[in-house]
């Protein structure tokens, strides 16, 4: 099967009705973003001195980091454990992670009051700060992701440099540069792959440490010293479902046959991961006896139940059924539930669980905040679409369109 599949740039029309909608939503987000940069964060968001963090941190940043976990889980599976049959999903997952983290960086950039100081943590260190650790790891990991993606770029352009006009003289030297880059990378890429996995486990868990310092300001259903572990476990278990969702979406959007053999195995492998996460989550609840808060029937308890039942228990049950693993629609549903469940978990941890003692009314995201978040998601989708049309990311059956390029490197 491996020999038949080959990453190829998708050849379709970029603009479709769906794409037009995405562009409009992205533009709407940009309008509000302009407002934020012209008049300050307060002009666009509902944040205040009681609720300093909101939708942008909870979804764009925290959920963004979690959902980009497909990058390191598939890399570990295909490159470290060398399960070659999963190579077809490595590149799409890598691309998602790369774009995802890029937008996480944008999310941080717009949420901090002094965006132009975003480089400060690189030179001003505070080793006690969980946020500092997250920041540094993310900076390094983004770099690693771009390096990991380089082989895809070299594969695309080696022997294909077609600059014209005044730039034509560049074709030769750039080609030579790409070839030497490619040779160097094929020997050293494993260093970056392992580094990527280590960095991911570090900052995925440190993201959980972030809210611990909020202490009693965080609702007891979520506030626990094992938050870093829960964050790491949930990130690991959302990696494969995210790949499943993406692959099925891409298959539909580009009219390809979904890779069900690989995807249902990924779905199957998700079950133990999700199970461990669930065990710790429930176990923690019993150890700290926080289940008493479930009887309070307020926003927090309802959100907690939704998060655990719809986001973990239900998809876990579904993925244990053969029928679900075999059907694209059902597999998609189950995977989507996991993805939404983890996204909700991050939102809950950073926004819903934050219940400060002094407050003048609850924080509810403003229309502007939602617009920016939606806009970012649309931009990400658009960039993904553009990237898979330019670079060989998505694998498709090789109908001997072209003989295998001798510079093909697995990314």
């Amino acid at each position: 099967m491996q020999a038949l599949m080959r990453p190829t740039p998708m050849r379709v029309k970029f603009v479709t009705p769906g794409v037009v909608v995405l562009i409009l939503l992205a533009l709407n987000g940009l309008v509000f973003l302009a407002g934020r940069f012209l008049f300050g964060i307060g002009a666009v968001t509902n944040l205040d001195n009681q609720y300093p963090w909101g939708l942008w941190i909870g979804l764009d940043v925290a959920a963004g980091v979690a959902l980009a976990a497909g990058g390191f889980t598939t890399a570990a599976l295909a490159h470290i454990l060398r399960r070659e049959e999963y190579n077809v999903v490595v590149r799409p997952a890598l691309l998602t992670a790369m774009l995802g983290y890029t937008f996480v960086a944008f999310g941080v950039m717009i949420d901090i009051g002094r965006s132009y100081y975003i480089w400060h943590p690189i030179v001003m260190w505070n080793g006690n700060s969980a946020l500092f650790e997250v920041g540094i790891c993310v900076v390094i990991y983004v770099t690693v992701l771009y390096i990991e993606f380089l082989p895809v770029v070299t594969e695309r352009f080696i022997g294909q440099m077609r600059l014209w006009g005044a730039l034509a003289w560049l074709n030769q030297p750039v080609d030579r540069l790409l070839r030497s880059l490619d040779r160097g990378l094929s020997k050293t890429l494993f260093v970056f792959v392992i580094a990527g996995v280590v960095l991911s486990t570090l900052h995925q868990s440190s993201l959980g440490t972030l809210m611990i310092i909020a202490g009693p300001k965080m609702h007891p259903l979520w506030q626990t010293p094992i938050l870093p572990l829960l964050f790491l476990l949930s990130a690991i278990s959302v990696g494969f479902p995210m790949v499943i969702v993406e692959s099925l979406l891409a298959a539909r959007s580009f009219g390809l046959k979904p890779e069900m053999a690989v995807l249902s195995r990924l779905g199957w492998m998700t079950t133990p991961l999700l199970g461990v996460y669930l065990a710790f989550k429930i176990g923690d609840m019993f150890v700290r006896k926080t289940f008493v808060h479930l009887a309070e029937l307020d926003l927090q308890s309802v959100m907690f139940v939704v998060e655990v039942l719809a986001g973990v228990v239900l998809p876990l049950r579904m993925l244990l059924m053969r029928r679900v693993l075999k059907s694209p629609a059902l597999l998609f549903t189950a995977a989507m539930l996991v993805v939404a469940g983890v996204a909700l978990n991050r939102f809950n941890n950073f926004v819903v669980a934050y219940t400060p003692p002094y407050s003048f009314g609850r924080y509810v995201p403003s229309f502007g905040e939602i617009s920016v978040t939606v806009g970012f998601i649309c931009m990400l989708a658009l960039l993904y679409r553009a990237a898979v049309m330019i670079f060989p990311v998505i694998s498709r059956p090789d109908r001997s369109l072209a003989p295998k390029d001798k510079f093909t490197v697995r990314g």
């Binding site: 012209l38 070659e84 009051g113 505070n126 392992i194 611990i212 010293p225 003692p357």
Partner: protein
């Protein structure tokens, strides 16, 4: 009552006389100092690596000599002069002091924010009709401040004289300090697009540097605020509680809360009734710092994980069963 005031006076007299010598001096000196500091910070912004940034991380000095303030809410008359003086001292626009006599502001609970570093709230006593308690609120200047531990760039630091101060040259405006502070104190200038600041009581750091009292302590007409070495203040507070057990609840708020704060409170009603947060005695940053340092203990965990993964990769590469596709 007379005895009480005596104690207060005695407490103050016993303090080192740091006040006075600079009081009459013109504001010009401070202005120049502020200006110098500002130009320094611009320089810092330009070069990126000024003296301010060179010292990595917060200083977090915990001197036993550090100063604090004892707020006796049973003495406070709710005149709100401290609110006015604080704004004056920090160049925050304010209405004239006469308007502060308006007592209707007490109808709703207020919190310090970016336009007022301290506010006074008034609470009716739950059991004794007609009795009320005025409570001044500002940064508590914790001994182990959560905000200092949390700040991503070390813009907040605990100074030797007790003050927890904020450095505009470093701050990136992430607001993690606000998430971390157990007293919900730091505020942010949400409506500024350029250089929004974190605003919180700085224990009048600049004023005290030249020997002046904190502005609020200085103006208080009834000496509800006592400025002095924290260790002495704890003693004064305890002796007041001992000598007037009817007047005070038997609790010095801040003595042990979150590892101790340099501002201390005495009250005539349960602190919970006066909307003080209920906090344990462990320093707020304790858990997160130990987790953080556990994950990174001398970089051993990440490095061993790296090694482990490398070995795994090597094994699977040389395993004939999985090798076929490669």
């Amino acid at each position: 009552m007379k005895g009480l005031l005596d104690t207060v006076a005695a407490g103050r007299a016993a303090l080192p006389q740091t006040t006075g010598y600079c009081r009459g001096k013109s504001m010009k000196k401070i202005d120049r100092r502020a200006f110098l500091k500002r130009s320094l910070s611009i320089g810092a912004g330009l070069t990126g690596l000024s003296a301010a940034c060179a010292s990595a991380g917060p200083k977090n000095i915990l001197s036993t000599e550090r100063m604090g303030v004892l707020v006796d809410t049973t003495v406070c008359i709710g005149c709100r002069n401290c609110e006015w003086a604080c704004k004056q001292a920090h160049e925050i626009p304010t209405a004239p002091i006469e308007t502060y006599e308006d007592k209707s502001v007490f109808d709703a609970m207020r919190r310090p924010d970016d336009k007022a570093l301290t506010v006074v709230n008034r609470y009716a006593d739950r059991t004794r009709p007609g009795v009320s308690h005025a409570v001044k609120v500002q940064c508590m200047h914790c001994a182990r401040p959560a905000c200092v531990s949390a700040c991503i760039v070390g813009a907040l630091s605990k100074q030797e004289n007790g003050a927890v101060v904020w450095d505009t040259a470093k701050c990136i405006g992430c607001r993690y300090c606000m998430v971390a502070c157990p007293f919900q104190i730091p505020a942010f200038e949400y409506h500024k697009a350029l250089q929004p600041r974190i605003m919180k009581c700085d224990f009048c750091f600049e004023r005290r540097k030249c020997g002046k009292l904190p502005a609020c302590v200085d103006i208080c007409p009834v000496e509800a605020l006592t400025y002095g070495p924290r260790e002495d203040l704890v003693g004064i507070a305890r002796s007041r509680v001992r000598r007037f057990p009817k007047r005070y609840v038997n609790h010095v708020f801040g003595e042990y809360e979150v590892g101790g704060t340099d501002w201390l409170y005495l009250a005539g009603a349960a602190f919970a009734d006066l909307q003080f947060p209920k906090l344990g005695q462990n320093p707020a940053p304790g858990v997160s710092e130990s987790i953080q340092h556990g994950i990174f203990a001398y970089f051993i965990p990440p490095v061993s994980l790296y090694a482990l993964l490398g070995v795994l990769m090597w094994i699977s590469k040389h395993n004939p069963k999985t090798d076929e596709g490669a």
